[in-house]
């Protein structure tokens, strides 16, 4: 019986992970995954990071994936182990992050009996994964794992879950290596590899005709790889067309470049939103016309011809109807556009869009990101600006939680490279940033990893500070502490008559002492005089640091397109008043 070519399900899993060049796995043990943990005990290629709650494992895997471009992997037990990762899987699905989640399941013969720690894992995770599997036969395990990695990373990336009953982890079979698997094309959905030449020609002829073109770039550009961003930079430099990016597109194009209008959308730059509203040609590169970007749809960029490059066919014409589209990969398409320009000697020299740039520069004069920093209380915007100035020379990765601090980070921290900015956009998951920083630091041990946080979000996954301490991950948690769920308070102020229902965060811990109790380091800045020193001290310490930055409690995040308003109806400051009709309509939106 003891066939040398046969391995247990647990060993097959480890062999497959090795084959997939996985070097790090985030996880938490439990009854239904003990055979896998036993296999992990006896090997040394795979580093297991023990999180403190499974939600931490999934966000860490997301942070790992986003910062490295590789697939993030996590391992959790059945029942509560799995239900704890549902938020993270949904987050990864919304933001197209490639992760593979391995979950244990009760033994096959107990499935359906309401056994201890049993839940319908594939049922619960079906709508929040790109695909999922319940492996009932150990002989199918190798193939399933390899297909899972392929699906997670192909086309529009996303999370894939593999549920493995405990008896399958013990059962034996042959191992089939990655190179011996032939994938079935219809299941992988990698997108077309053939560039649509007509699309390229149409686009270039429209660029030549247009007076007011704009690039609108999203996270798809990031997922297409670093080369996509190189090709984009080339194209923007050749054409002198202004470019705005979504929250996830930040870093695909250097934020300090003169052609960059910065982020667009609800808290985007005035010039970016106005340019979107008034443009006559919109070139969407891997963005999905999200409601946070478009504002009121019937007033969205009314006069433009729209081109859309997106590998996901379902993103085309979903929210906004476009005139031309292609589903081919962004890198391939941009490359073709650039080489078409070169080989046909298309000269944009006479086409410098000077009127358009003149108009944009007028909008820029509004200085929509202006704020008044006094000489005592720290303005949150200023805290981010100083953080940027004091860290921009370093090799830095920034993660965030969700809320006002996230938007200020997007506005005031400038990114020059892709994959340096790791945030929860689509789902807006509070508690994302710190575990994501753990993952990013695992993938980039020598880099500076900062979680820009709010005190409320940070408390949602506070337990992971222990993970950072255990693995000596010197992540920095930069808390803009205003004692409020700031974004909730801001909406209550704007839409609900300043009735701050349950948005004050009472009974906050002393973050300095909290850090010390975890054997991390706590630092604090109470006023403007202490800010730079505190930031410098935080950076200089080679251990996990919690920096408690006391900021103006009542500061709001501007500019802002209120829900239900259009791009040109932005509020620039608290002195701008919203159109009351929009306000009533916006109230019912998110």
């Amino acid at each position: 019986m003891n066939n040398e070519n046969e391995f247990t399900g647990a060993d097959i899993l480890l062999k497959a992970l090795k084959d997939q060049e996985v070097d790090t796995i985030f996880g938490y043990p439990g009854g239904a995954v003990l055979p896998i943990y036993d296999a992990i005990f006896g090997q040394n290629f795979l580093k297991h990071v023990l999180v403190r709650q499974e939600a931490g494992a999934v966000h860490a895997a997301e942070g790992y994936a986003r910062s490295s471009g590789k697939v993030g992997v996590l391992l959790v037990t059945s029942g509560p182990g799995v239900t704890n990762v549902v938020t993270g899987l949904t987050d990864a699905l919304m933001d197209s992050i490639p992760i593979v989640c391995i979950s244990g399941q009760v033994p096959s013969h107990l499935i359906g009996t309401d056994a201890f720690q049993e839940c319908d894992t594939t049922g619960i995770t079906r709508p929040c994964t790109k695909h999922n599997y319940l492996v009932k036969d150990v002989s199918k395990l190798s193939e399933t794992i390899h297909e899972a990695f392929k699906i997670a990373s192909s086309g529009r990336p996303g999370p894939v879950l593999i549920d493995i009953p405990k008896d399958v982890q013990f059962a034996k079979s042959k191992y089939i290596s990655k190179k011996d698997i032939s994938f079935r094309e219809h299941r992988i959905k990698a997108g077309s590899k053939n560039v649509d030449k007509n699309f390229v020609k149409e686009l270039l002829s429209h660029i030549k005709k247009s007076e007011r073109p704009i690039f609108y770039v999203g996270g798809g550009c990031l997922n297409s790889g670093h080369q996509a961003s190189q090709e984009l930079i080339k194209l923007v430099n050749k054409t002198n067309i202004p470019i705005t990016t979504t929250l996830h597109g930040l870093g695909c194009f250097p934020g300090e470049d003169k052609s960059s209008l910065g982020m667009l959308g609800m808290h985007g730059n005035y010039e970016a939103n106005l340019a979107m509203n008034k443009c006559d040609l919109m070139i969407n590169v891997g963005a999905r016309f999200d409601d946070r970007v478009t504002g009121r749809l019937d007033a969205f960029s009314p006069d433009s011809i729209k081109f859309h490059i997106d590998i996901d066919q379902s993103s085309i014409n979903k929210n906004v109807k476009v005139n031309f589209h292609t589903n081919t990969d962004i890198t391939l398409t941009l490359k073709e556009i650039n080489s078409f320009i070169d080989s046909n000697n298309i000269d944009f020299g006479d086409k410098d869009y000077s009127n358009w740039w003149g108009q944009i520069n007028e909008w820029r004069k509004k200085e929509c990101l202006h704020y008044e920093q006094g000489d005592e209380v720290i303005k949150p915007q200023h805290a981010i600006s100083r953080l940027y100035e004091l860290t921009k020379q370093k090799d830095t990765f920034v993660t965030t939680e969700v809320g006002q601090h996230q938007m200020w980070a997007a506005q005031y921290y400038k990114f020059s490279k892709p994959n340096r900015w790791i945030t929860s956009g689509g789902l807006g998951t509070m508690g994302f940033g710190m575990p994501a920083a753990v993952g990013a630091q695992m993938a980039n041990p020598d880099s500076l990893v900062i979680d820009i946080a709010g005190e409320a979000s940070f408390l949602m996954n506070i337990q992971e500070i222990a993970t950072a301490v255990q693995y000596k991950l010197p992540i920095k948690i930069f808390i803009l502490n205003n004692e409020y769920m700031g974004m909730v308070r801001q909406w209550q102020e704007l839409l609900h008559g300043s009735r701050y229902s349950e948005s004050y965060v009472d009974a906050l811990p002393d973050f300095k002492k909290l850090a010390e109790s975890f054997n991390a380091v706590g630092v604090r800045a109470k006023n403007i005089a202490e800010l730079d020193d505190t930031i410098n001290e935080m950076i200089s310490i080679d251990r996990p640091v919690i920096a408690d930055i006391w900021v103006d409690k009542k500061e709001n995040c501007f500019p802002m397109i209120p829900s239900g308003a259009a791009h040109h109806e932005m509020l620039l400051s608290k002195y701008d008043k919203e159109n009351p009709e929009n306000q009533e309509k916006g109230k019912v939106l998110v």
Partner: protein
């Protein structure tokens, strides 16, 4: 009584909700039907009728036929979403094909009370060329097939006969493009 408008009120003048029949070829694997049904309910689409059967045992393929309602934009979005599901080979809107055929099968059990009703039923059954499956005493079972519309009309006609009891089952439409 409410007065009649001097101008007709357009109903859904801009949003034309159309009936569409979608034909989806999938790998026959556990959970595939749940994936498709979940996609419809999760995204707020309607399923008017649904039919699933293995069509190729060797290749392990099933064909799922879904009747749904929605404006054209919604139908295109449904198809794009269906085609993203891993086990889905293809999703086709039969209405977009140059030539396609559609059929539905319906079994109708009718209980009648008198000769006159029986004659009327027989008459309709004859017009619609429906097959008698069984007839005993005052109960008759017919099988009728064709497009859903044809079956609807047959049932509407039966409705005009007073006093009979009708029980029925319908397969939902299936269709094939050429």
């Amino acid at each position: 009584m409410s007065s009649t408008s001097v101008y007709p009120t357009p109903i859904n003048a801009f949003k034309q909700s159309k009936r569409s029949v979608l034909s989806v070829i999938v790998d026959n694997e556990p959970g595939i039907l749940a994936r498709i049904v979940g996609l419809f309910s999760g995204r707020g689409y309607n399923i008017e009728a649904l039919n699933v059967t293995v069509v190729d045992v060797k290749k392990n393929l099933s064909r799922i036929t879904i009747e749904t309602l929605g404006e054209e934009k919604v139908i295109s979005q449904i198809i794009a979403q269906l085609e993203k599901l891993v086990p889905v080979h293809s999703a086709t809107n039969l209405a977009n094909l140059s030539e396609s055929y559609e059929a539905e099968i319906c079994l109708v059990k009718i209980e009648f009370e008198n000769e006159e009703q029986d004659q009327k039923i027989l008459n309709f059954a004859d017009i619609y060329r429906s097959r008698t499956v069984q007839k005993r005493q005052n109960i008759v079972v017919y099988e009728i097939s064709g497009t859903s519309e044809r079956i609807n009309k047959f049932l509407d006609d039966l409705d005009t006969i007073g006093g009979i009891k009708v029980e029925l089952v319908r397969s939902g439409p299936i269709g094939l493009g050429i």
